[in-house]
């Protein structure tokens, strides 16, 4: 699926960003790359710059909200500052936390909501139908197509918003705390959708989250952000098992907390071994499920 030598769907290098009318750097030197089919998780305390990073990675900063961007923010090889907002939208799509504000508000059915983006760029009707059908299938929400978007549960609305962003066929998808306002079932649905979009459809995905357990399940790599800079990076396991994570203001996933509690309590070796085996068995069940 990847052409050798092709530019990464998302590549940030030395990125600094300042919101319009402010003098502080909300992002102060960020480097990251996301390749097709890979999922990069971003953790950090509130106000670390996670949402700002999402806006920069989707091109909306500076193209839709202004502000000052320094460094290189490239979507499929093109710098965001050289693109128009609608061009960036077709290279990098974004999903926000609030299920209701990101829907267009003018679509009577989910089908039309998903068609919203492709219609805006003036694609032919046949092309639009194919894209809508493909997006609904990718998110497994074909049964929601005739429904009123305003009357869906939070989790369903997020899937619809994701499908409608996906319909513009961006190579990169940015998700900013997508499950923050959802219940556990909604969180599970979105998590599965993310895995499928990367694994089966090759999307490059950047996802910021507080729910480290979710990232442990779906992400390949991760970075930790604080004060607008990357303070840790590596595989998702490496980052989430870093002892410094708690000081950073990030809660490690339950499995990590459990292993640490075992180690700290100096539990008898046999009991510890059995516990870790049980944990491993459950982890495997989770990964498969």
């Amino acid at each position: 699926m990847t052409v050798p030598g092709a530019a990464a769907p998302l590549a940030l290098s030395g990125v600094r960003y300042q919101y319009a009318g402010t003098s502080a750097w909300a992002l102060d030197g960020v480097d990251l790359t996301v390749e097709p089919g890979r999922i990069l998780g971003v953790v950090g305390p509130n106000d670390a710059g996670k949402s700002t990073l999402a806006l920069v990675a989707s091109g909306l900063a500076p193209l839709a909200i202004g502000g000052r961007l320094e460094g290189s923010a490239a979507l499929g090889g093109r710098e965001t500052r050289e693109l128009a907002a609608h061009e960036a939208a077709q290279r990098s799509g974004i999903l926000f936390q609030n299920p209701s504000t990101q829907l267009s508000g003018t679509a009577h059915t989910v089908w039309e909501e998903v068609a919203f983006g492709p219609r805006n760029v003036g694609l032919g009707l046949g092309e639009i139908v194919e894209r809508v059908e493909a997006s609904l299938a990718a998110l497994r929400i074909e049964s929601l197509a005739p429904r009123d978007p305003a009357r869906l549960s939070g989790g369903q609305a997020q899937l619809v918003a994701l499908a409608s962003v996906f319909a513009l066929r961006p190579a990169c998808l940015v998700l900013d705390e997508p499950t923050s306002q959802l219940d556990p079932e909604g969180t599970r649905l979105v998590g599965e959708a993310i895995r499928r979009l990367a694994g089966e459809l090759g999307s490059a995905i950047l996802v910021t989250e507080h729910k480290t357990a979710l990232l442990a399940r779906v992400a390949d790599a991760a970075i930790a952000l604080r004060g607008g800079t990357v303070v840790a990076r590596g595989t998702v396991r490496e980052v989430l098992e870093d002892p410094a994570l708690i000081e950073l203001g990030v809660d490690p996933p339950p499995a990590v907390r459990l292993r640490r509690a075992l180690a700290a309590a100096e539990v008898d070796a046999g009991a510890a071994r059995r516990t870790l085996d049980a944990l491993a068995a459950l982890d495997v069940k989770e990964a498969a499920g």
Partner: protein, 270 residues
């Protein structure tokens, strides 16, 4: 490839195409918009009872034919606060009126005032109902596509269209704000004086919320290529005809003419 796309075009679901029935509903959206505007102009611009009564008659007839009677209720309810203040202010405080009907403390209700109040209320109701008829029989999306085809900017049109659909959400948000402030002891069940004190704690978050909402929604729209220079693809064909164009021009000019003649004093209506 061509054939595949043509074939795909035929797969637009019925619930999207939503073929409408009813002559009025099938009218071009801009025609309906012009009619609504003309009605509003006549309701407010023509002096006397005739203007609003005629508009009301037309609107009620249209509502009956298009069977949207019940759905108009929220629009009527929305006018109640305005009508209440119109009735109070005009009945008791109409300047220069002498024909007192009854006295309430230092205030006197006058016949002239009451007549004016009723007439003004009628205009408001006529206006609200004509907006209601338009909004309930015209899918926002169709209006957007049609206005865009006529060269009206996409953004401006969209703001109007989605503002209408935002109303239920704003009402919901208002409900949440009221609840949160009541939970902090804001009294909404006591005397009117106590209730007035609640305006800032209720209006504050409402306005801030509305502003943030607009910001968030604008950004979210950009993320869906809203400002792309292309012409928006039409999914539901929207018909127009020379006859409709004639209706639009005559309704618009006719309404403007009536109002102008009324102001110039040439025509007088009871």
């Amino acid at each position: 490839m061509e054939d595949a796309l043509n074939e795909a075009a035929s797969r637009v679901p019925d619930y999207v195409l939503r073929p409408v029935d009813g002559t009025y509903r099938r009218l071009n959206p801009t025609t309906k918009l012009v009619i609504a505007f003309s009605a509003a102009l006549v309701a407010f611009g023509v002096r006397g009872w005739t203007g609003p009564l005629v508009v009301l008659a037309i609107v009620v007839a249209t509502a009956a034919v298009t069977r949207i009677g019940r759905a108009m209720r929220p629009f009527v309810l929305a006018t109640i606060p305005l009508i209440a203040s119109i009735l109070l202010v005009n009945t008791f405080l109409y300047p220069g009126a002498e024909d007192v009907l009854l006295r309430v403390g230092p205030f006197a209700a006058t016949g002239t005032g009451l007549t004016e109040a009723l007439q003004a209320s009628l205009r408001v109701v006529a206006f609200a109902l004509s907006v209601a008829v338009f909004s309930l029989t015209t899918p926002t999306d169709d209006l957007l596509v049609d206005l865009e085809r006529r060269g009206v900017g996409r953004r401006g049109v969209f703001v109007i269209g989605s503002a209408i659909r935002t109303i239920p959400r704003m009402v919901e948000r208002a409900g949440e704000i009221v609840e949160a402030q009541r939970a902090r002891g804001l009294d909404t069940e006591g005397s009117p004086l106590r209730r007035i004190r609640g305006i800032l704690p209720l209006a504050g978050p409402m306005i801030l919320g509305a502003v943030t909402d607009v910001e968030e929604r604008t950004v979210a729209l950009e993320a869906r290529a809203f400002s792309a220079p292309a012409q928006r693809t039409v999914i539901r064909p929207i018909p127009d005809s020379p006859a409709q164009r004639a209706v639009r021009w005559s309704a618009g000019l006719g309404a403007a003419g009536l109002v102008a003649l009324g102001i110039a004093g040439i025509l007088r209506f009871p």
